[in-house]
Symmetry: C2
């Protein structure tokens, strides 16, 4: 199988056969280059990351789980540097091609995983999501993608960034594959029962480009019909931008603490934007940090209130489809900030979220997200499966 879309990390392609007879037998998967694969250096999307580090002796929990499930690993995929990035442009390994939106970024930081699945190079792929790194590429590449409940999936052998927000996620092109992989990763059957109440996050729909809300409208209508009961509400009474501000303070502080010893010891190379993000994490004033921690508590309270058992919430995964590749930072920076306004609740509150494909704006994919109560991951996958079944 050739890979002319730059989804896999440069160099020899790793391949490890899955366990014979597993439920995922016959499926192939790729792993974002943040996940340890025994005998293969973990690249982390930055050529200075592996220097001086031991080659992993064992697989990460996620890779081992998919191999045990029967899926075959066919490669490691390009990621934004040490998962710091939301667009998928990597100065070291290049920008994986988004075959569903030619000339557009794949989204990041799980860029290569999403691009590989979208291009049909594998059936599923592992990603990580701290501030949107599975959800955004799922939206931009027209895929199913899940950010599980924070703390639910074992992150052993996964390169950390901001541990109170880090999660392991995965992608698939179709809901059937998505459900099969999810059952293995979650260690739980996908239920038949669906939620009974849908909240439509009107602030998030209002924040997205007008074309996005319009493009998602048919799917929201179908979702409402599937669930039975729906109502409109505001997700973030304090403001989506206020939630984003809290996330943009807390996450970089943690990332700074994660990477500071490496920066000090190795003075590694980064794209300017990545170094900037890290450095800004070292400069958050204590008062801002204290406030952001309090706002995080408010967000958790709000999300728990909005999402009692049996309820899900929907919103656009991203406020616009994939931007063009190769744009200047002065264009991209405001786009990043807008994306964070729709993604911040994931890192702040830790609820599970699934991005659903099927909608387009001017031919470009755009995802509809559903969020459920903490621990309701399998139910969100059930909704994805039921909705696709209804659509076909």
């Amino acid at each position: 199988m050739t890979d002319d879309i730059g989804a896999f990390v440069p160099g020899p392609r790793v391949r490890i056969e899955g366990r014979v007879g597993g439920t995922l037998a016959g499926l192939t998967f790729a792993a974002k280059d943040l996940f340890d694969v025994a005998g293969v250096p973990t690249g982390g999307g930055n050529h200075d990351w592996p220097i001086g580090r031991p080659v992993p002796a064992r697989h990460s929990w996620a890779v081992q789980t998919l191999l045990d499930g029967g899926a075959t690993l066919i490669g490691k995929t390009v990621t934004d540097e040490v998962s710091l990035g939301i667009l998928g442009e990597n100065a070291f390994d290049g920008t994986p091609r988004n075959t569903k939106a030619p000339g557009r970024v794949p989204g990041g930081s799980s860029s290569g995983s999403a691009a590989a699945v979208a291009a049909g190079l594998c059936d599923t792929a592992l990603g990580t999501d701290t501030g949107g790194s599975v959800r955004v590429p799922a939206s931009f590449c027209g895929l199913y993608g899940i950010r599980p409940t924070h703390g639910r999936i074992d992150t052993t052998g996964m390169l950390p960034q901001a541990p109170t927000s880090d999660t392991t996620g995965w992608f698939a092109r179709d809901a059937g594959t998505f459900a099969k992989v999810s059952a293995v990763m979650l260690g739980e059957d996908i239920p038949r029962a669906l939620p009974t109440s849908l909240v439509i996050a009107v602030d998030a729909f209002g924040f997205a480009d007008p074309g996005v809300a319009k493009a998602l409208h048919p799917m929201v209508t179908k979702l409402a019909a599937l669930i039975g009961h729906s109502r409109e509400d505001i997700m973030a009474p304090q403001g989506l931008s206020v939630w984003a501000r809290a996330q943009r303070s807390l996450q970089p502080i943690e990332a700074w603490n994660t990477f500071k010893p490496w920066l000090d010891e190795r003075n590694p190379r980064f794209a300017f934007s990545v170094a900037r993000q890290l450095l800004l994490g070292s400069m958050v004033p204590p008062a801002e940090q204290s406030w952001a921690a309090l706002m995080r508590q408010e967000v958790r309270g709000r999300m728990a209130h909005l999402l009692p058992a049996g309820t899900i919430l929907c919103l656009p995964t991203t406020p616009f489809p994939a931007p063009l590749v190769g744009q200047p930072l002065s264009v991209l920076d405001p786009l990043r900030d807008r994306i964070t306004c729709l993604c911040a609740q994931g890192g702040l509150a830790g609820h599970p979220q699934v991005s659903l494909p099927g909608s387009t704006v001017d031919g470009l994919p755009i995802g509809l997200s559903i969020i459920g109560p903490r621990g309701s991951d399998a139910t969100l996958v059930a909704v994805a499966r039921a909705l696709e079944g209804q659509a076909s």
Copy 2:
């Protein structure tokens, strides 16, 4: 001629013969990779710098002047990234070996030029000095090095950093070669007449490591004898650290303005410390900038007052000899700041300064600097020649 010390930029070595019959005939020189050489991409010490830029069609003024003078160009040398660095450790091209202080940094940013001359790979080499980038490697590698009067040497074809401080300088191992090259670069004969008064900057000697002041004492004594009249005075009544603070505000602001369009357009890769330096330049508060500009005026007034015609001032070029290579940023950052305390007057006031070799601390080279009135460059070279003549 082999180069196993990493002084030259990787890749094919450029060679251009000097004009037959010039006063520099028989001499070889190297050019820091900030100077344009026709037909050769200017690397700038950063692998993303040349991308998308036209290959220079003509030589920089400095390269053309040495070629016209009869010297033969034998290569381009490693530099700290876009001249941002004072130690000479480059994450892209490596750290040129300091053959005069094994295991120690060569100093930067004109690291390869100094290392090449120190190792005898060429007779002279072009560098640039904005905040110390010729003076520091001259001190660390035991070479003659000059930072000319600001604005005196044509900087056409030289990659700029902070134009109100940028200068073109050069290195040599012996005073005779240094004088010959200086006469060509300055377009002025080196005079026989020497200054008649020497000021010993007691604050600068007091700021250096005790071993440095002690090591330089014999040379200061010889210099005082050569000049005839000497006295002690404070160079920086406001404080060396106050002068350094002004320089550390003004230079990064200018560097930010120089490189900002490139950063925005290309999001280039940098060692973390370089990206940090650039970003901090964008964050200097306006009140700090205004103050620094006023302090620069004070420094200019002080240096003009200290250095009437016929007077020179001496101080240690650096507060210590070359640090070990490969140290963490937390060790190097305070060293950088201390170096700036002894170098700030150059960028702030623009007076010419020559670093003189010949002293060592524990076997490691340390330079003694002489500074003269603006325009007295040739006289400083004359002092260097006379002092070496006296010593031999």
